[in-house]
């Protein structure tokens, strides 16, 4: 039995774990990565905010582990070939977000990746030096990822931001109210000096024989092509809410519902960071700290003004960088939307609702459990995403069987 279980060791999970441990709680952290840091600090947690405090506290960290099932106050995790049950008094869900992919012709070609996705590939050994790379989609991650890739030697062809120029200008004006962010943006711009940042521009299709060779971009009424080796494309993020759903928490369109103390609709189940709504690393850290304090029954009011300020910035981001409706019309008849089951746009377009689409085409029924095509279909067709049942993530049947017998003993 652990006092406090934290699921996810990205910024929110780290802040929550450190804060609660500093308050004397016995804390267990489960993370699906090899080392703490989440997607954003993958392999680079050292030197980041909270790192020193993290080093000083005692935490029980279970890495490379995934939560497969939730039963009452227990979770069943799979770690390699082993499975075990962990009981908790309070839990903080800090599962973060995944990139939002919107399908377009050629998006399944090898060489087309997510923005954070390409970064992760490089961190795990992909050699990007002297490769021609285009970064496209939407949001500040494009700049951060481009700077990273450039530092690793990539030949950055361009950064294409789908947001129209006027909206970016308005965002720039508002940015002045957030000097810290302005400074970060300026630093990134400096690192990206000489790389074209093209506004009001998006990838219309990708072509190549067996792998990506050419990207066609659209900017207003004109189109142009670029020869590239890699295209890193994503339209921001979508919150990971599947685990919260398995806990029975109320989920809203933007993420998991929480109160002012980060508690979800289920008592003793807290949620912090991107899964409560896309807000970026600073919101995640604050929400994590808040959740850590709240779970230890400590006051949290002092953090609320800071959080409000960060959330203002987050809502500004979300308003500015939401995908434009025109992106709904990129797919051609034979563009694959559901990659697990090879379901094309043509087939999906004829389906009256998501349930029929699932049954008749098996869209979303593959091993990604609809995590990739689900948000795309919400954007394309307005379909609701499916329910969550065990296994929350694909798991060995032995783990699932174990998870099912645990409930009776808990």
């Amino acid at each position: 039995m652990t006092d406090l279980l934290i699921i996810g060791a990205g910024p929110a999970g780290i802040a929550a774990a450190v804060t609660a441990a500093e308050q004397g709680a016995s804390v267990t952290v489960i993370d699906d990565n090899h080392a703490p840091g989440g997607q954003i600090w993958r392999g680079e947690f050292h030197g980041k905010p909270w790192y020193d405090r993290f080093q000083k506290v005692k935490l029980n960290i279970i890495s490379d582990a995934r939560v497969i099932a939730v039963h009452g106050n227990a979770v069943v995790i799979e770690q390699g070939a082993a499975a075990r049950t962990i009981h908790w008094n309070k839990v903080i869900l800090a599962t973060g977000a995944r990139e939002l992919f919107l399908p377009f012709p050629g998006w399944t070609l090898p060489g087309v990746t997510g923005v954070g996705g390409l970064q992760a590939l490089v961190k795990s050994g992909l050699v990007i030096r002297n490769k021609r790379v285009a970064v496209a989609g939407s949001g500040p991650l494009l700049l951060a990822a481009a700077a990273y890739l450039r530092a690793k030697g990539a030949d950055l062809v361009m950064i294409a931001e789908q947001v129209p120029t006027a909206a970016l200008m308005r965002f720039g004006m508002e940015l002045r109210k957030h000097p810290k962010k302005l400074k970060q943006a300026a630093a990134l711009q400096l690192q990206l000096l000489g790389v074209p940042y093209v506004r009001d521009c998006y990838v219309e299709h990708a072509t190549g024989k067996g792998k990506l060779e050419t990207l066609q971009f659209r900017q207003g009424s004109k189109t142009f092509t670029e020869e590239v080796d890699y295209a890193a494309i994503a339209y921001g993020f979508t919150p990971e809410t599947e685990l919260a759903a398995a806990f029975g928490c109320e989920i809203l369109a933007h993420g998991v519902w929480v109160d002012k103390r980060q508690q979800t609709s289920i008592q003793n189940v807290y949620c912090a960071g991107e899964s409560t709504g896309i807000g970026g690393v600073d919101v995640a850290l604050l929400e994590g700290e808040l959740a850590g304090l709240a779970a230890c029954r400590k006051p949290t009011k002092h953090l609320l003004p800071l959080l409000a300020r960060e959330q203002h910035f987050a809502s500004l981001l979300n308003q500015t960088f939401s995908p434009r409706p025109g992106l709904k019309h990129l797919c051609t008849a034979d563009t694959i939307v559901c990659r697990c089951e090879d379901v094309t746009y043509q087939v999906l377009r004829q389906q009256p609702d998501s349930r029929t689409a699932k049954l008749q085409t098996r869209c979303g029924m593959g091993p990604c459990q609809g995590r990739i095509c689900g948000p795309a279909n919400t954007f394309l067709f307005g379909w609701e995403q499916g329910s969550v049942r065990p296994p929350i993530l694909p798991a060995r049947m032995a783990t699932l069987a174990l998870s099912m017998t645990q409930e009776t003993s808990s």
């Binding site: 029929t356 049954l359 091993p367 694909p394 049947m397 699932l400 069987a401």
Partner: protein, 362 residues
């Protein structure tokens, strides 16, 4: 002649298809999507079974109909002629293999007895030391929601619940009424909403599907103990049943529960079901599962469907109570009803399935 069919599952769809071919103008009503109930939840067996002579007659007739239809069905219906292998764990079950072999051979069903070694060669992932098996090579599996959708492709389907039934007329939940010369109630367990006296009980089942492992499993496998557990009409039970799917995935069942009303996964039941599967195929434990779900079979006390005139009506017919064999027996069900409507003789006797029967079971 107009027909209204209540229920867009495989049985309703088969009836709609058949009646349309007889020249009826058919409308199907269902509050959910096509094939969204037990049809979507089930395994999609196309199997011949011999629990009773009437079950054998219906399943073997229907299997022949599926074989004819298979040539017309689109690839999405995923007809996979994988055959069924009944697994005998011990000598007692092997005796049952020989009994079944004799029964089916006499009746012209292609069937083969496998000894312990032949069984192991046929399915290398089975636990060693099984007594043997019975191969029914004409059995197969399909993907029922797409089969139902194809059967209904030129039929008018209304997304509405029928809340009231009268002679020659149904009332929909939205208030409107539909007149018909023939009304067929083919909505599975929900038929009791319209016919509270029907001896029909929902029997909950669990299923699990794996990631893709092409070639890992070659036949539909069913433990002979299945007969013992599926025979019980009261106790909760599990039995090993696994199917290869056209996608390379493996579908694993089965569980049977009476009295369960909510569709949530019942963890102890699912655990029992999986443990049973591991007993037969230990390697399954290491394969990745991607989804689990539940569904409700419409079960009758004598394990036979209810097909024919509804008691007290002249225009209303029943086609429900197919338990776990709704996909297998849907096409024959539709033929029997069409024959009755057209005053024709049927290929098999209709009496065992008539709604007014005694429903006594052994």
């Amino acid at each position: 002649m107009r027909a209204v069919i209540i229920g867009a599952g495989i049985v309703g769809a088969a009836c709609a298809y058949e009646l349309q071919r007889e020249g009826f103008q058919v409308t199907v009503c269902d509050p959910g999507v096509i094939g969204g109930g037990a049809t979507a939840a089930g395994m999609g067996h196309l199997a011949v079974m011999d629990d009773s002579p009437a079950q054998f007659a219906l399943t073997s007739y229907s299997q022949a109909l599926w074989r004819e239809l298979a040539e017309e069905l689109p690839p999405t219906a995923e007809i996979l002629p994988c055959g069924s292998l009944w697994i005998a764990a011990d000598a007692e079950e092997m005796a049952e293999v020989h009994r079944k072999f004799a029964y089916y051979s006499e009746r012209g069903i292609p069937v083969e007895v496998l000894d312990s070694q032949q069984l192991a060669e046929a399915e290398p992932h089975l636990r060693p030391g099984m007594a043997g098996g019975l191969l029914m090579s004409a059995d197969g599996v399909c993907y029922p929601p797409c089969a139902a959708e194809w059967l209904l492709r030129s039929v008018s389907v209304i997304r509405a619940r029928v809340v009231r039934l009268a002679e020659g007329e149904v009332t929909l939940d939205r208030g409107s009424r539909l007149e018909a010369d023939v009304i067929i109630v083919a909505n599975g367990t929900a038929a009791v909403d319209l016919f509270p006296d029907l001896p029909l009980a929902p029997r909950k089942g669990h299923l699990l599907i794996t990631d893709r492992y092409p070639g890992w499993l070659r036949h539909q496998l069913i433990e002979l103990g299945y007969l013992k557990s599926a025979h019980s009409t009261t106790a909760d039970s599990v039995a090993f049943n696994a199917q290869p799917r056209a996608t390379g995935q493996i579908l694993i069942g089965s569980s049977r529960q009476f009295g369960a009303v909510n569709g949530e996964i019942d963890p102890p039941m699912l655990a029992r079901m999986l443990q049973r599967a591991f007993e037969y195929m230990p390697g399954l434990a290491q394969l990745a599962s991607i989804r689990t779900w539940t569904g409700f079979r419409a079960a009758t006390p004598d394990k036979l469907p209810v097909i024919g005139h509804a008691p007290g009506y002249s225009t209303v017919y029943l086609a429900t109570g197919h338990e776990g064999l709704g996909i297998s027996t849907s096409l024959a069900t539709a033929k029997l009803l069409a024959d009755q409507l057209m005053n024709r003789e049927s290929r098999i006797p209709r009496e065992p399935y008539l709604p007014g029967r005694s429903y006594s079971h052994d």
